[in-house]
Symmetry: C2
Subunit: 354 residues, 2 copies
């Protein structure tokens, strides 16, 4: 029901410019949401700039980690906003990775039927994916993003030096989404990316702009995921199922590691369903194997992973529809895939990455 | 972020037609939300039609009353939907008054980022006001509708015979919104309404269509309340404050009774700020006095009521802006009103209705 024009994410290269691109005087007050990590590593940069410009603010810090995407946390924040009489012109600044942007946008969109919010993504995943496109929400009863909505940020301000604050695993995790963007939309970009070193923040920082543009363009054209936005699900139908399985057996892995495996497996399926040439599959598979260790599951786990696929939020009337690749840079949505072929593809992954 | 076209409410005169106007086969399953009252008085009519057509459904009944607009209740419903694996094609039917439509639309809009819902309003208030226009939400920490959003129903189906199931107070309560619609938009309609007997359901049923049209047209033109939708707030800035005050002192009154007092008091303010002719004010005042007993508060309560006005969700940057009348059928939004004049108007109400 909101304005459906998404803001264009902006890449910004100094803390002062970051602050200057927020029209703080438009708002009655400023709330900042961060987690313990971004509070420690990213907040000082922003705080210094805010204090220098003599802006007043209220800071709210939550625990880091997916468990914070919970309704109890939402109630805490709504209570704080209510007690401080925060009105509808209050701005919420979400300083953090995907957890903070998912949670913050959800909290802001529901408080008094919606207050403005701005994302300052601090992880590679949030910069290129989570903070762009309006999806937000929290987990519920072990279902990821079970409660949520589409919400429009006032702005998305990307400050690449925040990439410095990430661990290698966090960088590599976000890089899976970047690879996906190239695979579904831009073959030249793919050629550039295979030369990037995701362990080096500067190498990443130099190569994220196209990823931001691809995600941004796709969600702009189809904000409510009725059509082409589903291209972004490439790697995710299987990836999410692997992620859920690993969580269930008590060995959680970073989101992007599961997506990388999902990219491998869904590229394999693309040979069968969209005639993706085998040598192209091999190139994708080798790239994934180069950047990512195999996710550790074996044959007996396959049935459980298939179960998770069938429970997916995206499945319609009980059918699983995948986004698959025709070529590098070109994807097709809503491909109906049989359970047997999914099992075959999972088996190939287990065998080839043994 | 949703499609901003609201559905046009439809008046429907038989239970079969009601059911036939829902394309039940479009949905994977059917959930019905009602409260104890609508379960007892309205549900049997719908149930019979559903069973006759052999539709399967899940029924969920909550306690009647404003206290049910609570996040704990939302969690109950989300849990039930999750446990039953309700997918995104599940339809939620909200069978009830304003409480059920506010709660049901909120619950539906957040579950899996939004499932479709249809309102079947059963009270006069819901038929002419609450179920139209997309506002939904729950109460939080004694703030009415503190958590909510704008959401688009698939359809709003009005079955006037449900008015039979209401108490006299419920009919009169809804009638205050109907009077308001005439006052802000249609002088001829006002002339018709002053002859209606709100205690008689058939007399009401014959006269609600214009009210539905007025509300529907205004929200269609300004879904997010940036401009003219604020006209609908006439009577509500003071009315909500009176309602909150009565709740606080443990003597709650029906919503429309507070709005009727608000209409009186804001019409008085309209003399001062928009030159509403005194004789027109007298006509409005006499009509309100004819239909409604005075709300029982006296001089010492006035400061508290003024405090509630200042805390209103609609106040911006600390200023109270009212919708006032220029004439019967013509309203103006965003009139800045001083605290002193509000007090004078409240005093007049206390004195004249002594």
């Amino acid at each position: 029901m909101q304005n459906s024009n998404f803001p264009k994410p902006q890449l910004i290269h100094s803390a002062e410019a970051l602050l200057n691109s927020i029209e703080i005087n438009k708002y009655s007050r400023l709330f900042i949401l961060c987690d313990e990590n971004t509070h420690r590593f990213c907040w000082p940069i922003l705080e210094e700039a805010l204090i220098k410009q003599k802006h007043r603010f209220t800071l709210h810090v939550e625990a880091a980690g997916e468990a914070t995407k919970d309704w109890r946390v939402c109630l805490n924040i709504w209570e704080k906003l209510s007690k401080e009489n925060a009105d509808r012109q209050t701005l919420l600044l979400n300083l953090g990775g995907g957890m903070v942007s998912d949670l913050g946008a959800f909290v802001a969109s529901i408080y008094k039927r919606g207050i403005p919010f701005i994302h300052l993504p601090t992880s590679l995943l949030a910069m290129t994916d989570a903070a762009i496109g309006g999806k937000c929400g929290i987990d519920f009863m072990h279902f990821k993003n079970q409660l949520g909505l589409f919400a429009r940020a006032e702005a998305i301000l990307i400050y690449p030096p925040f990439l410095k604050t990430l661990s290698t695993d966090e960088r590599k995790s976000g890089f899976a989404e970047v690879l996906k963007h190239a695979l579904i939309a831009d073959a030249d970009y793919w050629e550039e990316l295979i030369k990037v070193n995701p362990e080096n923040w500067q190498s990443l920082a130099n190569n994220i702009e196209k990823s931001v543009q691809i995600k941004s363009r796709i969600v702009e054209e189809d904000p409510l995921e009725k059509g082409n936005r589903k291209k972004l699900n490439f790697g995710h139908t299987v990836g999410h199922a692997i992620e859920s399985y690993c969580m269930k057996i008590g060995q959680p892995i970073p989101h992007g590691f599961a997506i990388a495996a999902g990219i491998y497996i869904e590229s394999f399926l693309s040979i069968k369903y969209l005639n993706l040439p085998k040598e192209v599959f091999n190139e994708i598979a080798q790239t994934i194997q180069h950047f990512y260790a195999k996710v550790d599951f074996s044959e007996p786990a396959i049935d459980e992973i298939v179960n998770f696929i069938q429970q997916d939020k995206k499945s319609e009337m009980g059918k699983s529809r995948f986004t698959l690749l025709k070529q590098i840079g070109s994807a097709e949505i809503d491909v109906e895939v049989s359970e047997m072929e999914v099992k075959t593809a999972l088996l190939d992954y287990v065998a080839k990455n043994g």
